[in-house]
């Protein structure tokens, strides 16, 4: 996912922007407000899935062979799929699948990216070169391609999917953290810390890490949408979730055969992917405007 730098919306040249009051920026930035609200809604739906879903069993292994592929009706708002399961319940439970994968992928990517980034940025020298060259090579592959190759060679499951995507995602964070760490490490006051004999660990945790946190938060929030899309794409190709997991990508893939006659089987899960990715992207976009307008992120 390639995120793009954004200059703040109305940026008059000479006038410094006064302190932002939360209510102020909400009104001035409707996209962020919408993104934040819908993202929160999705998290709530995921948490309250058992209460919200009319037929929770359908998200598991339950099937109803006698009312197969029924059109949306009062009883089934989103209709039923090829084995009679309620599409609405499965879409609701789906809110627990790909967003969760996104969470794990981003945690893993940070767990790998931060230490490597700091090592490269803080210590520099040959260590920096080695780490950064490896990062460049992994980044020579479009993320989805490497994830696809890895997932295709591993037995298809949610864990393989998570591993495959994490393996392609960490390099971005190495680059980001390294940039921050190198810039802070170069500052004179770090020199003085060293002179005062402050331990390397304290310098890293007291000075370098806090500085890198803001752009990291922005980047992670921007990536949630990207990972959800990548995970759904791989599940669509049958490389991620397996039946009966209510994964949106898998539901679109399985429904493809019935799409021309029973449109609802594909439309609603796909719509869920779009809305979720859109919401998190808006949220990330808005956060970047607020916290770190100058961040240039090219993936």
């Amino acid at each position: 996912m390639i995120e793009v730098p954004e200059a703040p919306a109305p940026a008059p040249v000479p006038v410094p922007v006064a302190g932002l009051r939360t209510r102020g920026w909400l009104r001035s930035n409707p996209l962020l407000a919408f993104g934040g609200a819908v993202s929160a809604l999705i998290v709530i739906v995921a948490v309250l899935a058992p209460l919200l879903a009319p037929d929770p069993g359908d998200a598991g292994s339950a099937t109803h062979p006698f009312d197969v592929l029924k059109a949306p009706s009062a009883q089934h708002w989103f209709g039923t799929d090829q084995v009679g399961r309620d599409v609405l319940s499965r879409v609701i439970y789906g809110a627990r699948i790909s967003p969760l994968v996104a969470l794990f992928v981003l945690l893993i990517a940070c767990a790998i990216g931060i230490p490597l980034g700091i090592a490269a940025g803080y210590f520099g020298g040959w260590l920096d070169d080695v780490i950064m060259r490896v990062t460049d090579i992994v980044l020579a592959f479009p993320a989805l391609l490497l994830a696809l190759a890895l997932a295709a060679l591993l037995p298809p499951s949610m864990t393989s999917l998570t591993i495959a995507i994490s393996a392609t995602w960490w390099p971005w964070y190495v680059r980001l953290i390294r940039g921050q760490a190198a810039s802070v490490a170069g500052r004179p006051y770090i020199e003085s810390c060293r002179a005062l004999g402050i331990s390397r660990r304290r310098i890293i945790f007291r000075h370098i890490l806090p500085n890198a946190i803001t752009p990291l938060i922005v980047q992670v929030s921007l990536d949630v949408g990207g990972v959800i899309l990548t995970a759904s794409a791989l599940s669509f190709l049958g490389l991620g979730a397996q039946d009966p997991t209510p994964d949106w990508g898998l539901m679109v893939s399985e429904g493809q055969t019935y799409f021309t006659t029973d449109w609802w089987v594909v439309t609603f899960p796909g719509l869920a992917i779009l809305i979720t990715a859109f919401a998190f992207n808006l949220l990330g976009d808005g956060l970047r405007d607020l916290l770190d307008p100058r961040r240039v992120i090219l993936r």
């Binding site: 793009v4 200059a7 060259r133 490896v134 479009p142 989805l144 060679l153 493809q256 449109w263 859109f278």
Partner: protein, 338 residues
């Protein structure tokens, strides 16, 4: 200028070598012996042994790597399990269709993204800007495999406005068959003056290209907007206005050309990304490109084919970056003169 390009070329070669090495690591790191996967799941033990010998699995690692590199550069990318042909020849026949699709998509993305970016940069914060920003974020958040199905259902199956699938309509094969010149159907039709075929290839290209264009269009419009807003405050803009130039010159010509350099960097990135996006769409549109080949390879656990396609796309991606570097040097004298 040539010194700059030579340096970029050297970097590209290093990255390609790294890419080949990485595919070697993946091939050997994945569970299951590479020999078995190279020879195929139901190959006889003798065939597996022969594959092991060929890959030199018993030999020390550097020899294996050297043998793997030699194989790659001499065109021996292994035999595809589900087509029983050499992986490289499969890729050679499939690649033009995918490249044609991605290039068409990028053209659409530029035609939509650049003007959108300009309009939203003209009056930042206004409704038009908000709408375009929301639209481009929507484009970037689109699951294109789903969008492909929706567009195919609406435009092709229900409205019959556009063809459902395939590279061109079938009965043309009897009336005016396509003769292969470059391997790209649109170009071949053009060069051989086969107008009905040209019309058919273009109409068949619309739906898939529009779907693949969703992501790059969103990205390019945001990129153009950001670059212009970054430079709109600079003195030369006021200078141009002070000389009596209208806004459309200030934005369309002066600010736009300045924005091309960073935007073209994004285009190289998005080329690689979109080439992979076609994988999700080609099966839906019966598009005989790398995507269909990759999807078929996944179904049959065809490791050599999967790695071959991965390698090909990565190399194409590095070349795209190289091309853009050169284009940037042409556009931006500051780079050329460095």
């Amino acid at each position: 200028m040539t010194r700059y390009i030579a340096r970029r070329l050297a970097l590209a070669v290093v990255v390609v070598a790294g890419v080949v090495l990485l595919t070697f690591v993946i091939a050997h790191a994945v569970p299951g012996s590479p020999a078995a996967s190279w020879a195929g799941p139901h190959a006889s033990p003798a065939q597996v042994a022969a594959a092991a010998k060929y890959l030199g699995l018993d030999r020390p690692l550097p020899v294996q790597i050297a043998r793997y590199f030699a194989g790659i550069f001499t065109g021996n990318w292994g035999v595809s399990i589900h087509t029983h042909q050499s992986v490289l020849s499969n890729i050679a026949t499939a690649a033009p269709a995918s490249l044609e699709l991605v290039i068409a998509a990028l053209i659409i993305a530029l035609a939509v993204g650049v003007p959108a970016g300009l309009v939203s940069a003209r009056r930042p914060g206004r409704p038009a800007d908000q709408a375009i920003r929301a639209g481009s974020i929507l484009g970037v958040s689109m699951p294109i495999f789903w969008m492909a199905l929706i567009l195919q259902l609406v435009f092709a199956q229900r409205l019959h406005v556009l063809p459902v699938a395939g590279e061109y309509s079938s009965n043309l094969l009897f009336t005016n068959p396509l003769t292969k010149v470059t391997g790209f159907p649109v170009l071949d039709a053009l060069f051989t003056g086969n107008w009905p075929m040209l019309g058919s290839t273009l109409t068949h290209l619309i739906l898939p290209a529009v779907v693949v264009a969703a992501y790059p269009a969103g990205l390019i419009s945001r990129m153009v907007r950001a670059q212009i807003l970054d430079t709109v405050g600079e003195t030369h803009v006021q200078m141009a206005r002070a000389l009596g130039l209208p806004e459309r010159d200030v934005f369309g010509r002066y600010l736009m050309k300045l924005a091309w350099s960073p935007v073209s960097a994004a285009i190289a990135l998005v080329f690689g990304y979109s080439l992979v996006n076609t994988f999700l769409v080609e099966s839906i549109f019966d598009w005989p490109g790398l995507g269909s080949y990759a999807v078929a390879s996944i179904g049959t656990l065809d490791t050599p084919a999967i790695l071959g396609v991965t390698l090909f796309v990565a190399i194409a991606y590095v070349i795209a970056n190289l091309i853009v570097d050169i284009v940037q040097a042409v556009i931006d004298p500051r780079i050329r003169l460095r």
